[in-house]
Symmetry: C2
Subunit: 402 residues, 2 copies
């Protein structure tokens, strides 16, 4: 037997097998209330519509739908997608291009591969998106955390960090942000912060990666514009996904940005997987065209709002003295911080034993901070389960707080 561990690449050796993922395997096959997932509610899946679309595109256009397709994506789908994005307020500018990816995670991966060398510096929100942190770690990048508060990415902290890097003579490759209905924070960046972010990025001439799976689900009338839309300098690469606005199982995401950036990512994609599922692209295209995406988004908004309301109410009633938490205006997540010094990772097996799961906040920190925080997702459990789960959690926290 070849000693596969001994011959693993340095890149592979930088991947840390997620202990949180291992812990969450405890939940498999058990009837527990999970606030861990961040999965969309499957009752929103437009099964009959998609069944009919799939049948039709395969039957009527099978020669194309079942064949290889171009690396940047099926042309017709990319045009439909561009129209959709314009319609929901994401500016597609002259000279921009769209690259279709295997989930938006692949778009982020391609971007990392195209621009980040081992030892390069990247700025990431902290707490920040788990998959982005894992990617930059695998690439051997130096991650500089930028604080996130109730107004989103803290631009004062960003400026401080960039000044310090500048003094070191370091030019960072990018700023990664999930500005609207943040994962894991639930916060949404204010307009003035957005303007500041763009100004600062302009001063230091840094690319901004705007990851945006959740802005489609805002429950309140909040004024915001996408960074991509505000950007006049070709500085923002925007990442999106069908996983939340339609279904995850098609595995279709995209990157939208200046042609030169997208073209680099496309060259990497040619080597990674050549292209994403042709069938999935045709199905997604027809779902946009026939208004099914709009219907799912409308239905999702009201369903997720009800769930968020339920979770916030249950937390207000049961946890007021135990900690503080974010009050998201949209998206899937509430971030909780205990008043007491707790270790939510250590607590997880017991919580699962007692019937409730969450993601320990540590996973969203670069260097193991955030022990007494956790991410609660209200997207998947049923409203009545949400209350029950929060009561369970509150009970456990109360015991540990002593």
């Amino acid at each position: 037997m070849v000693d596969y561990d001994a011959i693993a690449s340095s890149l592979a050796n930088r991947i840390v097998a997620s202990d949180v993922r291992e812990l969450l395997k405890l939940t498999e096959g058990r009837k527990i209330i999970s606030f861990a997932g961040g999965l969309p509610d499957p009752s929103l899946f437009p099964k009959e519509d998609l069944a009919e679309i799939a049948r039709q595109v395969i039957s009527e256009r099978g020669e194309r739908v079942l064949q290889y397709s171009p690396t940047p994506g099926v042309g017709e789908f990319r045009r439909e997608l561009a129209g959709y994005l314009e319609r929901v307020g994401v500016a597609v500018r002259e000279g921009d291009e769209i690259l279709v990816s295997t989930g938006s995670q692949e778009a982020l991966f391609l971007l990392g591969m195209a621009f980040v060398d081992p030892g390069d510096t990247v700025l990431v929100e902290e707490p920040g998106y788990l998959a982005a942190i894992n990617l930059f770690r695998m690439l051997g990048a130096r991650m500089v955390p930028v604080k996130v508060d109730s107004e989103g990415l803290n631009t004062d902290d960003l400026r401080k960090k960039l000044e310090a890097l500048d003094k070191e003579g370091v030019k960072p490759k990018l700023i990664y942000t999930n500005p609207t209905c943040n994962n894991p924070n639930g916060t949404t960046m204010t307009m003035s912060r957005r303007r500041e972010l763009l100004d600062i990025a302009g001063e230091y001439d840094v690319m901004i990666v705007e990851d945006d799976p959740y802005s489609y689900f805002t429950f309140e009338e909040v004024e915001f514009q996408h960074l991509k839309t505000m950007d006049k300098e070709g500085r923002v690469v925007y990442l999106g996904t069908m996983s939340k606005i339609l279904v995850p199982g098609l595995r279709i995401g995209w990157a939208l940005g200046p042609a030169k950036a997208i073209r680099r990512m496309e060259l990497v994609k040619q080597i990674v997987d050549l292209h994403s599922s042709t069938l999935s692209q045709y199905i997604a295209m027809e779902a946009i065209r026939r208004g099914i995406v709009d219907r799912v988004v409308a239905k999702a908004k009201s369903l997720y709002k009800r769930k968020r309301d339920e979770m916030l109410a249950a937390m207000d009633e049961n946890m007021a003295d135990l900690g503080e938490w974010t009050r998201p205006i949209g998206g899937f997540f509430i971030f909780f911080k205990a008043n007491a010094k707790l270790d939510f990772k250590a607590m997880l097996p017991e919580a699962v034993e007692r019937g409730v799961a969450y993601v320990p906040g540590q996973a969203f920190y670069i260097e193991g901070d955030g022990r007494s925080t956790m991410r609660l997702s209200y997207s998947e459990p049923k409203p009545e389960e949400i209350r029950k789960g929060i009561e369970l959690l509150a009970g456990i926290i109360r015991e540990k707080t002593g």
Copy 2:
């Protein structure tokens, strides 16, 4: 505007935009006979069967089929696939695992990411598979070519190369081979060569990557076993794909091998694209289960055999004095070498102008050799087009030969 070229990673800078790909763009929208593609014949696509399967799995099992799924692949599909592979003679051993990938290209990519560092040495067939050469180039590997002749990978040359590396103190990471119905060569490795390859790899303790898209289409009764099946040492990682035995548009491939190797690839995949299309996996699963894959393979065998016969006959009649070529026992490709010193890359625009396309052989060589070779694929054009295209090509070569 950010200067995206200036900030590109060293990895991205190692990707050479394919000039052959650019040249072949000349063919778009033109009525030409293309021997370039290597696309499966779309008349083989079981459109009505797949339309019905897609409708059914979405309608009846949509909650799962449209949801996120595990990184290594949908469990039920992996078991079905393992059964299929056993049935066609690919041994799935105790301790093996299967990883479902976004086309087999992603499986190869994940393998490269998991095991190959910049500066590492890999042994590749020459002429060899374009995408493998491009991958190893992007990863910054040192590629050592191993000759391929009418009996497949030349094991004497392999031994010579390994001895030389050993003297240098270099331990290569892997040997990449496409032993059966080789791309681009059309050759199939003899059994005695296969045994030698495994022996030599054992002596030097090197992993073997067996890329196998084409063995399903053998037109003659040729005795061969898969390297994976002959391997008793956990040394072979086997890569396969649904693209040729069903349809490419699902974008489903796989890696099969020792759990430790596959697990490393899975950890990389978790970061690359999280998982491959859930829908595609369910469709592929049902296509195996309902015997549709078997039907496609049977039909494909006889269709591609007819096309191969047509191309060989046309070449015998028109090109006997112009060069030599391989006589494939299966697969999609014939490799042609001109007697005269020609430059088939330089010749391509004129050929396209006159109505026929091919892939210049240079693309399959590591360092720009193979100028007077080309790869001819008979998989896509209609039988009557094949003869016409060969006549056209022969005419051009004859003119250039002077």
